[in-house]
Symmetry: C2
Subunit: 150 residues, 2 copies
């Protein structure tokens, strides 16, 4: 399963991303720019290692990719997803968007379908009220077997 269905119809271009990053008063280095460029082309959450592998050979160390992803997450340009295997995956975040959405993951081939919209918000509200919690959010991912794997 490799389809890149209806997702991120219009990824921002590199210059725009770079500008956004600079606005956060961060140093724009080769590795960071390259990581942004890779993320820009991903239709689905990408693991650190995948990003590393997609980088021009030897551009930088794996540790640097991890550090770059942390910075990008901290400044809100990237969102971390946990798709159920213990591997962190990252997606570029549109400016000013919290990027809240979910995924449908094939448990056979690990293929991913992006799900737009989220209907759990009311539940969230109710839970917060009932339990006195603040700042309630949620993590929701779907798993199943995709057509190709059945």
């Amino acid at each position: 399963m490799t389809e890149r269905a209806h997702s991120h119809p219009e990824q921002p271009d590199l210059p725009e991303l770079v500008a956004r990053f600079r606005r956060q008063s961060r140093k724009l280095t080769g590795p960071r720019q390259a990581v942004l460029e890779i993320l820009r082309r991903q239709a689905h959450p990408a693991a650190s290692k995948e990003i590393f592998a997609a980088l021009p050979r030897g551009l930088c160390d794996l540790a640097t990719v991890y550090r770059a992803l942390h910075v990008l997450e901290r400044v809100g340009m990237v969102k971390r997803y946990d798709l159920g295997d213990g591997i962190a995956r990252f997606e570029l975040l549109p400016e000013g968007d919290d990027g809240h959405h979910h995924h449908l993951v094939c448990t056979r081939c690990a293929g991913v379908v992006e799900i737009e919209g989220c209907s759990v918000d009311e539940v969230e509200q109710r839970l917060a009220a009932q339990n006195g919690f603040k700042a309630v959010t949620h993590r929701l991912e779907f798993f199943g077997i995709c057509p190709a794997c059945q």
Copy 2:
């Protein structure tokens, strides 16, 4: 946050669990029985290490706890949860129940509230139909700040 709210009102007793386990044609050993006994007393998902720590000192190796939990999971007596930190947690499963439910986790103190019921099933159905997926399930956990931590 340590409250053990409205959860598992009636945990099965040890003999019953032991019988269930035996029915799966597994060897009932000291460590396994002890792990069941610990799980029986948990109101919330417990990490392998917590279970290990709660065991009579020196009863068995940590590796054995991991192995026991795997067996219990395989025979459907225990369910694994991922509460967002990279640590597996386990809850005893009532017989014949798939134990599907969710949790509300405090991001400050890691306290857990058990959530009963689940309203995502219709969404699940729709996703399966729309994407041609089979056997669709989901993983949903809520995070927030509990009253005591605010």
